[in-house]
């Protein structure tokens, strides 16, 4: 399923994550694979604890970081697609 600004996204239940001095490590307990996210990725991950529209996450990031809106949206969609491909995020249109 493709992701757009109007998609609703949330982290899946079969994972557990840990803060690692600002970054985050995620364990997918279904396959035992670990993933790491940098500080910005960790912030996005924390926003995924509750189902949210991608556009809401985008707005939050624009409030908190100095970044071009188009670059931000593009990188956010890429990250979310990557997390979804690894079974860490579920997408609800």
């Amino acid at each position: 399923m493709s992701i757009s600004s109007s998609s609703i996204v949330a982290s899946v239940k079969h994972q557990v994550s840990c803060d690692l001095a600002g970054e985050v490590v995620i364990l997918n307990v279904q396959d035992g694979v670990y993933y790491g996210l940098n500080a910005v990725g960790a912030r996005i991950w924390s926003l995924l604890e509750e189902p949210r529209m991608v556009s809401q996450i985008h707005e939050t990031l624009l409030d908190e970081y100095e970044i071009d809106p188009h670059v931000c949206e593009s990188q956010l969609l890429t990250l979310l697609a990557d997390l979804a491909a690894h079974g860490l995020v579920e997408i609800k249109q």
Binding site: V12, K13, H14, Q15, V16, C18, D19, L20, A21, V25, L27, V29, Q30, G32, Y34
Partner: protein, 406 residues
């Protein structure tokens, strides 16, 4: 206030800081008292050593980093951060292996119940990084233990002590757990069919817990879970068995009580009494209340405040927590810990009278878990522990014991 014949020394600021950190009240890190302690000129080496001994360094880092990191020497903050990261990674490793093993046991129709470790860190702290864990503890029923052992062996696990088949069978009949090490990864698991060595408990075993085991989800996986009452009872028995020598264990009890204000205390005490472990439950509640400020319901608060055996024991527990090298508080230090007891908690003036030294000595020479573990005798010979305990103290402290008791 208590009527004092002299002023006991005050609790050192590092100890007070650690108690604040272990408190279930997450606001303590941001409190004015927390800041004033940080500004008081702490002995950071001591703080890190005592925090490490008590297994609460990740919590200490969490609070410091979230509040006033600029008041912490950079080298100390770095050291704490490293510990925090190590705990995170180890927590994830153990969580992964626990979930895998629980699925495996389930496939073999073995009822397995995780205890402490990742499940406790997740349910009480909401973060694997905040509660260090060394190994995995899993309960299985007496009927399932042999099959569970075989499942682990088939997975490449090895017993952590070399034993032949006869020795293993003897352990299964006379002990309460077996330890295993995983192949290729630093994971140790203890398979428990009881919580206390049969010789160290007088009453029934823990079979009663299986009647009301419930289910919850751990990282999306259904896992057997203890009800809060039974979990509290087992945490208290475990902490008491180890003389509460880690603040982490008192913190666990405090968080559980704080998270469940409607606990069925009469039920907890009834189950604990069947195992002759009611004193462990009262001690756990008393320590959480006196050291961490956890509010107890009136029913249990009235009982612990009137139990005059609890404050002296608490003084010894504090000595072990805050004097990790010696593991024994002197008399004056012991008195200083009694200052932590809520002034409304019964009449404590006797603690500060000259004859209280004799009471202190009486508790020092009272046999503890390690006495009973070292000198394993039938219960009818339990008086021998009172002979053995002074010898144990002399062996550990040597001639310095006399100075240490002052």
């Amino acid at each position: 206030m208590h009527s004092l014949t002299h002023d006991p020394p005050r609790l050192r600021p590092e100890a007070e800081l650690l108690l604040l950190v272990a408190s279930p009240d997450s606001r303590t890190g941001g409190s004015a008292r927390f800041r004033s302690l940080l500004e008081a000129g702490l002995d950071w080496d001591y703080l890190v050593q005592a925090g490490w001994h008590s297994d609460i360094l990740p919590l200490l880092y969490w609070h410091l980093n979230a509040t006033w990191p600029e008041l912490v020497p950079p080298a100390v903050l770095r050291r704490l951060q490293e510990c925090f990261c190590r705990t995170s990674i180890r927590g994830l490793l153990l969580m992964n292996e626990l979930v895998r093993l629980l699925k495996l046991f389930e496939r073999h129709d073995i009822h397995a119940l995780p205890f402490k470790g990742p499940t406790l860190a997740w349910s009480l702290y909401g973060n694997l990084a905040l509660r260090p864990m060394g190994d995995l503890d899993v309960f299985v029923t007496g009927q399932d233990v042999r099959r569970a052992k075989q499942v682990l062996i088939d997975e490449g696990y090895r017993l952590d002590i070399d034993m032949d088949a006869n020795e293993v069978n003897r352990r299964l009949e006379t002990d309460f757990f077996l330890g295993f090490r995983a192949p290729n990864v630093d994971v140790r698991i203890e398979l428990h069919w009881d919580l206390l060595h049969p010789r160290l408990r007088g009453g029934e075993g823990i079979d009663c817990i299986w009647d009301s085991v419930t289910w919850s989800h751990l990282a999306g996986q259904p896992v057997r879970t203890l009800r809060a009452e039974q979990l509290l009872m087992l945490l208290c028995i475990h902490g008491h068995r180890h003389d509460w020598e880690r603040l982490k264990w008192i913190g666990d009890v405090g968080r559980l009580i704080a998270a469940h204000p409607d606990l069925n205390w009469p039920g907890i005490r009834r189950d604990a009494a069947r195992m002759e472990q009611d004193p462990a439950v009262l001690m756990g509640a008393f320590l959480a209340s006196s050291l961490l400020g956890v509010r107890l319901p009136d029913t249990i608060r009235g009982i612990v405040r009137n139990d005059r055996s609890l404050p002296p024991q608490m003084g010894l527990v504090c000595g072990r927590l805050f004097r990790p090298k010696h593991n024994l508080p002197g008399f004056r230090e012991w008195q200083s810990y009694l200052e932590l007891v809520d002034a409304s908690s019964g009449e404590l003036s006797w603690m500060f009278q000259p004859r209280s030294f004799l009471r202190y000595l009486a508790w020092v020479v009272t046999p503890n878990y390690w006495t009973r573990l070292e000198l394993r005798v039938p219960r009818s010979f339990a008086l021998l522990h009172y002979v053995y305990r002074p010898m144990q103290l002399v062996r550990r402290h040597g001639i310095a014991l006399v100075d240490r008791l002052k």
